[in-house]
Symmetry: C2
Subunit: 109 residues, 2 copies
DNA sequence: GATGATTATATCACGTGATGATATATCATT
DNA sequence: AATGATATATCATCACGTGATATAATCATC
């Protein structure tokens, strides 16, 4: 699947998908992602099992993330090269939304 | 519907919903929103009729936006008090995502 | 060593909402 | 009068996030 098609399918992405992808900038296994996101967001986001493993399967199938070994009960993943490009685009998109939001918000206090 | 329930149902909100709500910081009619968002995003986001009028109906039903008069063929809307609270929360959420994204992104260049 | 909490992954059914397509009508311009 | 822009509305579809449920191993602790 080419990058342009992936960009269309993955951006805008959901908050949970974003944090899953962001977590995998370093190698992690599913459960580790849960805990990491929990910590990163101060407990605001608690990933459900369905959300997490569903997303992981889809992302691996599409090559946005890739397997990075398997140790006893754990499957390790990491973000792929294409995944990194998608993530970059998504971060920029979020920046645009935030900037536009702040700009207009300040007009009404 | 109380604010807490609305917050649950509206955040995180989609990119299109965000821009629709943001547009209504000033009074606008549906078609005007289309053009405004088009301009604000440099043509990146072109709202489809289905997306727009569907969202508008839902948002008015829930009291996130309110009718602001009707002139010939146009129905004017504006954001409501509760809508403003929701929008504020959403902008803060976007800020969090963006900050976390940038923070981790810089670690990998 | 039994019990309960935590670690760890997987699958399924459900609902919701975004989207594209389609329809309708008016208005301005050529 | 024909075309394109203005303006709103509805409908079917589809993908995705979510919660529930299941399974099992490991760990702490009593």
């Amino acid at each position: 699947m080419d990058i342009e098609k992936l960009r269309r399918e993955y951006t805008p992405m959901s908050e949970t998908a974003f944090y899953i992808l962001l977590s995998l900038v370093e190698e992690r296994h599913g459960y580790g992602i849960m805990q990491y996101v929990d910590g990163l967001t101060g407990g605001r986001i608690r990933l459900g099992a369905g959300t997490l493993y569903g997303s992981l399967s889809r992302m691996e199938k599409d090559g946005v993330i890739e397997a990075a070994g398997e140790e006893e009960r754990r499957k390790l993943y990491r973000i792929s090269g294409i995944g990194r490009e998608i993530l970059k685009i998504e971060i920029m998109r979020l920046g645009e939304l935030y900037q536009n939001g702040m700009k207009l918000w300040e007009g009404i206090s």
